[in-house]
C-alpha cells in the first residue's frame, strides 16, 4: 500500500478529473478483425435499434 495517501482526508478534489480513455487509440493489432464486425453491427442497428431496446423487458430476478 505504498501508494496510499497518508493524509487523514481524501484529496479527490486535487486529482485530475478522470477521463475515459479513447478506444480508437487503444486499438492495435485487432483493428482489422474488429472493423468487419463493427461494420456488421452498425448495419444491423440501422434498422430497429430503438424498437429492439424498447421491447427488451425482463422481470426482476435475484
Amino acid at each position: 500500500m505504498a501508494q496510499l495517501n497518508a493524509q487523514g482526508q481524501p484529496y479527490e478534489d486535487d486529482a485530475p478529473e478522470p477521463e475515459a480513455p479513447a478506444p480508437a487509440a487503444g486499438a492495435t493489432a485487432s483493428s482489422d478483425a474488429l472493423d468487419d464486425l463493427l461494420a456488421e453491427i452498425d448495419g444491423s442497428l440501422q434498422v430497429n435499434a430503438e424498437q429492439f431496446v424498447r421491447s427488451f423487458v425482463q422481470k426482476g430476478g435475484q
Binding site: E12, P18, P23, F52, V53, G60, G61, Q62
Partner: protein, 504 residues
C-alpha cells in the same frame, strides 16, 4: 481445494412476441432441456432447503418473509445420516417451478421469471469456467430444441439488466469454514467485492437502475447494490448476502452466497472472479489482519464509484481515512493472497491476477482480450467513432439507442457480439470448446456432483428426485419407502450405495 459453484439467471425473450409470459417461456425451455437430455434428468428434491436461515444466527419467521424467499417445502429435515427413509406422499411438479437435474450435476430450472443454470460443485477456478460455459451450451441446446418442439423460438441473454429497472443475478457460491465469524467474513471480504469489478465487470451502457443517465460503467450489477449485508436477493440487495443455507454439514461449513457479480462471457473474468475471491476467503479463514487495513469507509457508495470510473484512477476512502484506487486495493489483496496459494491452480490465479492488474494500470485496452468491460468499451467506443462528424466529434452519444441495443446484443447466447468477438479470435480462452462440450454431459469428478450427475446419467429410472445434498432413490425394497442418500460433504465424490448403482 475449495468447493465453489456459479448460478446464472438468463434473460429470456420471444423475439416474435415481446409480451410473452417469461415464466411460461422458461418452463417450456426447461421442458426442452429435458428433451435434449433424453431420459437422463431428474426432478428436484425440495426436501431439505432452508432459505429462511440467516447467517447471523437467527431464523426468519415464515410470516415475516416476502413470498420469494419461500423456496423450500413445508418440511425441513435436519437429520443428516448417510441414508434415511422417506414416506411416499403425493408430490407433483409445478410448471412454474420446473426443474431438470442433469447428467453433469447441474440444475436447470425456472427461477422467478428466468431460466437458471446452477452449475455443479467444482474445486477450482478453471473448472468453474468450464462448467459455467457448459451451462451456456446447455441453455443454447435447450433453445434449439425449443425451436424444434414449440411454435416459436426464444433468445437467451447472459446479462443482468434490462435497462428498464429489472436486474437478475449471477451468483457465486463458496464453501467456507463455519468457524469464521460471519461479521468478520463480511467485513473483510467487502473491499474485495467492491474493487474486483475492475476485472469482473461485464460493462454496461447507462447509469442508474433505469439507465436514466447516459454513460458507460464497468459493472452490470453495481447500481442494484443497496446495503452492506442482508438476507434479501431481489430487493435492497446487499454486497454480502447472509442466507445461511449451507447444503452441507451445518456445523462445519457455510456456503457464502455472493450476489454482486456480473454474468461473464469472458473466461478470464470468470476465472479471476472465482479464483481471487477463493484466495481472499482463505486469508479470511486464516484471520489475516492485514485485510483490516483495506476496510472501506462507505462500501455501498464505493461500489458505484468504482463502477463509474473507467479511468481507474478515482480514489475511494478507506475506513482509516486514507484513500486508494481500486487497482491499489487489488494489488494489496494480491500481495496478501500470495501467502495462501496451495497448488498449481492457485498459482495460475495469482499470475493472471497480477498480469491483468498490470495491464489495466498501464494501458487499459491491452486488457481487452481478458476483461469483458474493456472489450465492450473498445467495441462500443469504435462504434461511436464511426459516426463522428464536425458537429459531433465524439460520435454517437451514450444515450443513442444503437449503443443500448449493441450492449444487450453483446450477451445473446449463440450469436451475440461477445461470441462473435471470440469467434474472431479477439478473446482469450482458458478452456477449449471440446472441454466445454464434454462438461455439458459429464459432472466434475472430484465433488459430490459426480454422484448426482453419475446416477442421473446411469440410472435415471431409480431417481425420484435429487438436490444439492440429497439423492432420493425409488426402487423395490422390503420397507417400501423412498431412500434418501445424504451427501452432506460437498467434497466427497464417492458413496458406496450410489457407486454400486452407477457401476451396476
Amino acid at each position: 481445494m475449495r468447493v465453489v459453484g456459479i448460478e446464472t439467471e438468463y434473460g429470456i425473450v420471444d423475439p416474435a412476441e415481446p409480451r410473452a409470459n417469461p415464466i411460461l417461456l422458461s418452463s417450456r425451455l426447461v421442458t426442452a432441456c429435458r428433451a435434449w437430455a433424453g431420459e437422463r434428468t431428474s426432478r428436484w428434491d425440495y426436501g431439505g432447503e432452508d432459505p429462511l436461515q440467516d447467517q447471523r444466527g437467527f431464523r426468519r419467521s415464515r410470516m415475516g418473509a416476502s413470498a420469494d424467499l419461500l423456496t423450500d417445502a413445508a418440511e425441513f429435515d435436519a437429520t443428516a445420516g448417510r441414508v434415511t427413509l422417506r414416506r411416499r406422499r403425493g408430490s407433483w411438479e409445478d410448471p412454474a417451478h420446473l426443474n431438470a437435474v442433469l447428467a453433469n450435476g447441474a440444475r436447470f430450472y425456472v427461477d422467478h421469471a428466468h431460466p437458471e443454470y446452477s452449475g455443479p460443485e467444482v474445486t477450482g477456478a478453471r473448472d468453474a469456467v468450464i462448467w459455467d460455459r457448459a451451462g451456456d451450451a446447455i441453455a443454447l441446446a435447450a433453445a434449439v430444441r425449443y425451436a424444434e418442439d414449440e411454435d416459436g423460438a426464444v433468445h437467451l441473454y447472459k446479462n443482468n439488466v434490462d435497462g428498464k429497472g429489472a436486474s437478475y443475478g449471477t451468483h457465486e457460491n463458496f464453501l467456507v469454514a463455519r468457524a469464521v465469524a460471519f461479521d468478520d467474513l463480511a467485513r473483510r471480504l467487502t473491499p474485495h467485492l467492491v474493487t474486483r469489478q475492475v476485472y469482473t465487470g461485464a460493462g454496461r451502457v447507462g447509469l442508474g437502475q433505469f439507465g436514466e443517465e447516459p454513460g458507460f460503467q464497468l459493472s452490470q450489477r453495481a447500481d442494484y447494490m443497496e446495503a452492506e449485508v442482508g438476507l434479501e436477493t431481489t430487493l435492497r440487495r446487499p454486497i454480502v448476502n447472509t442466507r445461511d443455507e449451507p447444503h452441507a454439514t451445518r456445523d462445519k461449513y457455510r456456503r457464502l452466497h455472493v450476489i454482486i457479480g456480473d454474468a461473464n462471457l469472458f473466461d478470464v473474468a470468470t476465472f479471476l472472479k472465482i479464483g481471487t475471491t477463493s484466495l481472499v476467503l482463505a486469508a479470511i479463514e486464516a484471520e489475516d489482519e492485514r485485510l483490516d487495513e483495506l476496510e472501506l469507509a462507505h462500501p455501498v457508495e464505493a461500489v458505484q464509484e468504482v463502477s463509474r470510473d473507467v479511468s481507474l484512477r478515482r480514489r475511494i476512502v478507506l475506513a482509516s481515512g486514507e484513500t486508494a484506487t481500486a487497482l491499489e486495493v487489488q494489488r494489496a489483496l494480491l500481495e496478501i493472497c500470495r501467502t495462501y496459494a496451495t497448488d498449481a491452480g492457485d498459482a495460475a490465479v495469482l499470475a493472471r491476477w497480477e498480469g491483468v492488474l498490470e495491464r489495466l494500470g498501464a494501458d487499459l485496452f491491452s486488457a481487452a482480450r481478458e476483461v469483458e468491460w474493456v472489450a465492450k468499451l473498445q467495441l462500443l467506443g469504435r462504434l461511436r467513432s464511426r459516426h463522428a462528424s464536425e458537429t459531433r466529434p465524439d460520435g454517437l452519444p451514450w444515450d443513442d439507442a444503437r449503443l443500448a441495443a449493441a450492449d444487450l446484443q453483446w450477451s445473446r447466447l449463440g450469436d451475440g457480439w461477445a461470441t462473435r468477438l471470440a469467434d474472431a479470435g479477439q478473446v482469450e480462452r482458458l478452456a477449449t470448446d471440446d472441454e466445454v462440450a464434454a462438461a455439458a454431459t459429464r459432472a466434475p469428478q472430484d465433488t459430490r456432483a459426480r454422484l448426482r450427475g453419475g446416477i442421473v446419467a446411469a440410472r435415471p429410472d431409480l431417481v425420484d428426485a435429487a438436490g444439492w445434498s440429497t439423492v432420493v432413490l425409488d426402487r423395490e425394497t422390503d420397507h417400501g419407502h423412498l431412500e434418501v442418500v445424504h451427501l452432506d460433504e460437498p467434497g466427497a465424490a464417492r458413496h458406496p450405495l450410489l457407486d454400486a448403482l452407477i457401476d451396476g
